[in-house]
Symmetry: C2
Subunit: 132 residues, 2 copies
DNA sequence: AACGTTATGTAATAATATAACATTTATAAG
DNA sequence: CTTATAAATGTTATATTATTACATAACGTT
């Protein structure tokens, strides 16, 4: 059962924007888009982003410094994320593949480390861009 | 057989520094460290870093905006990278696990994308930090 | 109501990265 | 060896991404 997180005002404004856009958004582009709603400073954006990442409503695409809404309803926390990224059109989508996530969540090597989290980014050309 | 890349002067200075440090280094820390060698501007550092990443001599740890020397002698190009990162002491090491790299290099889903590259970052606590 | 926690507002600044342009050095082809 | 081309360098300025510090307000318990 999913814990209901009551988003605060700023968190809600920023989540809704990212969610509606459907694609990765950068912090300052978010800022620009929410200024009419009274959010004026970068820090207000970053604080909301931090919280939204923490509770798994959005994920950060590390290689792009951008944030995308979680596309996986069962994903409560950002502790096991995988994305496919088109290097031409920059389309990003979240990969939900249970085999992959099982494989990675159970992965261990001889370092003695127990991994509690991972982030994976695949790069390539999407269907559209390949056929150009 | 490995293609020999003749590093240029700046590339060599910067690679040697990162390689000797044995840990991830940030661009401006690199800059600070090579100023005595005549490298004065961020761009000189970033250009060398770009090239070194391109030829696989170093990798970028995306979640940390830092660069580490490749620890895997067979790694010619940065197209299949995996790291373990301790969230407490920030120790980073490159994972060379042939099963893992095979699994990920061959991974495909139903998106129609053919992935040519990936980057994976595992997070957790290293042995030392766990026992504290 | 009193307390602790979470969120907000605001200004300043730090840290990371790139654009634009001029020049020099290395590589390769004739 | 010299011309052409690509790769690397030098330099200044600026863009982009992110955090520190401090003050105030709202929320959730008990």
């Amino acid at each position: 059962m999913q814990k209901e997180h009551n988003l605060s005002k700023n968190q809600k404004i920023i989540f809704d924007l990212i969610d509606k856009s459907g694609e990765p958004m950068k912090a300052y582009s978010i800022l620009f888009n929410v200024q009419k709603k009274g959010i004026k400073a970068p820090l207000q954006v970053y604080r909301a982003l931090d919280k939204l990442v923490e509770i798994g409503k959005i994920h950060k695409i590390e290689s792009r410094n951008a944030f995308i809404a979680c596309q996986n309803s069962s994903c409560q926390v950002s502790k096991a994320t995988a994305f496919s990224i088109c290097e031409s059109c920059e389309n990003v989508s979240e990969i939900s593949n249970s085999k992959l996530s099982k494989y990675l969540s159970n992965f261990s090597d001889d370092s003695g480390m127990k991994y509690s989290k991972y982030n994976l980014e695949f790069f390539g050309l999407c269907k559209k861009c390949k056929s150009k």
